[in-house]
Symmetry: C2
Subunit: 205 residues, 2 copies
DNA sequence: CGATTACTTGAATATCCTCAAGGAGAGTGG
DNA sequence: CCACTCTCCTTGAGGATATTCAAGTAATCG
């Protein structure tokens, strides 16, 4: 999918500080984005502060590719974050000159769909232990350092991704630690070392 | 989207009896489908019988459009159901001769994505009352007869769509009935008359 | 009409949430 | 460098919501 951004001649960059909004739900979808460094969350809100995070995006990931007039999620920087961005209409021009790019967009859209679909099962039918285990396995796969996961997001972000209370996430982490399935690196709650990936996979179903 | 199936010269039909599997999760995605009559559910299963339904498909709806080698859901007929089906490779041929069809596929994929994304919020962050209210509003929009909803699916199907126990769904229905927001037509639990759509919309957030 | 499946309702229980308090880490300014 | 503050995280206690188990009723299918 990096190819999608490779097809642009010139790329604009933008930097967002921690917590900054990149675009809002319902905003016109004028750009598509790729994370260069940092991390991004996409989320939907209910009237009374309840929040559901749809996905976390890490370096290399593309987001904001909606193919409709408006964004369906709000996107915010989790940490200080740099992105590449391209005008939506430039993408349309690229497609016009090379229709095969449409296949890449379709493939990326299907990647998103696949992720969201498996998240449905997690949200609807898995318990807190399974949810957190699945989340850790997902982050582990994305980690550069084997079995060391640096979490850019807060416990609240994780909770809102998994449909749990932040206290529940914290308790499950404590539980996994007491079971020697993970430990916190030097007591830093954002840096997790997976001690028993097999056990974690079993817990995640 | 009906246009997608209109682009085929000849269409095959198939009929499935209630509960029959149309394709299984992991099966090679050889066909795409359109409901002619009846209703279809797509679902994922966990090892211990837990089930999450991703979507219900009613006449006119297209399903099985995965753009990958294998199906990501199992599809089953809810009632006696007739579908049109087209070979995946025929679709590829159509795309080859008319690349603009790819845009239609992309649009349909995005429709699916939009539906699933809003379902994430429902599953992760809404309570039983909000979930059932949202479900009824969704079905109401699809109903031909204003404010009369014929539900082809069981309470268990609804529960597995909303991430609830079937008893909870039944209780919320009873609650909505006692509040005069709906009634059952002639005490038939599958035929719901919406008495107060405004109240229902308020409950759904 | 009988058998099976679906639905409802009640009671008890479990899971997760809310509320609350305290502690640890990061950043700021004296 | 050390208080100070703020945010984040943890942990406990109590409570709410939804689930499980159970029984009975209603509807559907052959």
């Amino acid at each position: 999918m990096q190819r999608l951004f490779a097809s642009f001649d010139q790329l604009a960059s933008a930097k967002y500080s921690s917590g900054a909004e990149i675009f809002g739900e319902g905003d016109p979808a004028e750009h598509i984005y790729q994370v260069v460094s940092g991390a991004v969350r996409t989320q939907k809100l209910l009237s009374d502060d309840r929040r559901q995070i749809g996905a976390f995006y890490l370096p290399g990931d593309i987001f904001g590719l909606e193919d409709v007039a408006t964004h369906r999620f709000t996107a915010e920087a989790i940490t200080s974050t740099t992105v590449h961005l391209a005008k939506r209409e430039c993408l349309d021009d690229v497609v016009k000159s090379d229709p095969s790019v449409l296949r890449i967009i379709l493939a990326e859209t299907n990647r998103n769909l696949m992720h969201v679909e498996s998240h449905l099962l997690l949200l609807g039918r898995q318990n807190s232990l399974e949810k957190v285990a699945a989340f850790l396995l997902e982050m582990r796969l994305r980690s550069t350092e084997a079995d060391v996961i640096h979490l850019p997001m807060t416990r609240r972000d994780i909770a809102d991704y998994l449909g749990l209370a932040l206290e529940t996430v914290s308790r499950v982490f404590a539980d996994l630690r007491s079971k020697k399935i993970l430990r916190f690196d030097a007591n830093r709650s954002r840096k997790v070392v997976v001690l028993d990936a097999k056990a974690l996979a079993d817990l995640a179903e």
